[in-house]
């Protein structure tokens, strides 16, 4: 297996709270990885550090072997790291079409074009509809993003990140706040797209049913560091994981 992303002794504290306490995180190419752990375990902080939403106190981040610890958000996106957000983060006053099209314009370096009409770009138009089709949002293309139902908003959030054609896609709780039925729908869509598109995906997820069903590998965080790392079967058999998930104290 090829290593796609690696963090070396990554640290980040907020006051006395250690959000990331020397994290050595490895993501292999092509895997579907779940990051689990209770609230405040440091999952989102880790993703924020990797996506340049936060700056680490110390440590290194390597992507495809290159040190990207000091790279800006846009440089990391260009390198191939994209993310969605825990709280849905869309352009509500813009159409569903424009939400996705803007990702494509940005990726193609066309976002600074001032003298061409956005709706007249055939390439971007076709690709936008292709992505919307993959996410089952083709019929909604003319709607304002703010007018979508919660499940659709979650899908659009992922679609925007996916349209950047990343090598590595972070999804922060892609199924929070939707019904069980919609959860399955979202995860089926996301996982099939990820597998077809040869994207490596890391999701943060609380629903363990979802996690066990879709992941190749599961990493469990607790108080800023890794507690367990393994296949769904290994994680199921791990006592500490079970204790934390049930809220019991650690045996050690």
């Amino acid at each position: 297996m090829t290593i796609l992303l690696q963090t070396i002794d990554l640290r980040k504290s907020f006051g006395d709270t250690r959000a990331c306490d020397g994290v050595n995180f490895v993501v292999n190419k092509g895997e579907f990885l779940s990051l689990v752990g209770s609230n405040g375990a440091g999952k989102t902080s880790l993703v924020n550090l990797i996506s340049a939403h936060l700056t680490p106190d110390s440590g290194k981040i390597l992507f495809e072997g290159n040190d990207i610890t000091r790279a800006t958000v846009s440089e990391r996106i260009k390198a191939g790291i994209a993310r969605s957000f825990q709280i849905v983060n869309l352009f509500d006053a813009m159409s569903v079409f424009d939400n996705v099209a803007l990702s494509i314009f940005s990726r193609q370096g066309k976002a600074t074009y001032m003298a061409t009409l956005a709706n007249h770009d055939r390439d971007v138009h076709d690709e936008t509809f292709e992505v919307l089709g993959q996410f089952g949002l083709r019929d909604k293309s003319g709607f304002f993003a703010g007018g979508l139902a919660q499940g659709e908003r979650k899908l659009l959030d992922v679609a925007i990140a996916y349209a950047l054609r990343p090598k590595l896609l972070f999804l922060d709780e892609p199924t929070s706040g939707v019904s069980t039925h919609e959860k399955t729908q979202i995860m089926d869509t996301v996982s099939s797209i990820v597998r077809v598109g040869t994207v490596t995906a890391v999701i943060i997820e609380h629903d363990m049913d979802v996690v066990f069903r879709y992941s190749d590998r599961i990493v469990m965080m607790h108080e800023g560091s890794f507690l367990a790392d393994g296949t769904p079967e290994e994680i199921k058999a791990n006592k500490d994981v079970a204790n934390i998930l049930l809220g019991a104290p650690l045996s050690a």
């Binding site: 957000f85 813009m94 159409s95 099209a101 976002a111 001032m114 003298a115 709607f143 703010g146």
Partner: protein, 334 residues
Amino acid sequence: MKAVSPGSIRSRIALLTGTATALVILALVPLVVGLYQIQLLTYGLIAAIAALGFNILLGYTGLLSFGHSAFFGIGAYAVAFLFRHVGIQSMELYILIGVPIVAIASALFGYICVRHTRIFFGILTLALSQVLYSLALKLFWITGGTDGLRVARPTLLASLISFTGPGAFQRFLTSYYYYVLVVFAMCVVLMWVIVHSPFGKALQAIRDNEIRAAFLGIRIRRFRWLAFLLSGTFTGLAGILWAPLNGLATPDVLYWTFSGEIVFTALLGGFRNFTGPIVGGIVYTYLKTYAVATTEYWQALLGAVLVLLIIVLPTGIVGALSQIARKLGAKRTP
């Protein structure tokens, strides 16, 4: 909320016919009204260009500038200096030399201001414009101080049309109206393309959700800077057009209350609509002129209008009209 964004062929046709009708009406106006009205409408079109420029920042990028008087003023004084020191009297040269000057000034101001957003941005623009205003007052041997600088009637269309002899003033006003109308139409088309370009979409994305826009790989600060540059340049062009009509470049167009008037204009028309600032510019020009003519307390009158506007028509004239149109349309097709 079931809302469909514009862009359909029907709305495209409606837009084209609407624009054509408006332009034809504007072109025919001088045939039916007196000189004074022509002059007033010219001022209105110039205010519309200034507001159009202002609104790419407020309406599309979400940045409220309180210093746009600076660019209008730089445009006006650029014309005055070109006339006084270089002896240029051609409107085309005023524009060709003046636009790069206001563009450079906007780029410099913008470079400083877009480091901040919200109130900090507004205060910075205000402060910088006030520096210019006090310079214009203090350096009176260059700027003429409160008296300002005279600008003679320029020739139009590469000296093809010049204005001397009897009736020159009348001929100038009518010709200049058409001149400004053509520049105005070009500005409207240009701005319409810009806000519907990928760049325009990116600005709106930044306005609505800065963080997500950054995570699409859009370099926020650079985009804001470009928007500022465009905004200042359009408003500066309005200043260039204004100076010969006014015959005088005066420091009051550099003063912060003039920036306030530009903000008022955008609010009046509705800054969430493309046409809002255009309507606002024209309506405000009439409103102010008649308020001044009616009462010496015209500022109080305008203040009252502003308060009423914000309470009753928060989306401005165009916003309110389009809401009414939408309601009527919904009734027609249930």
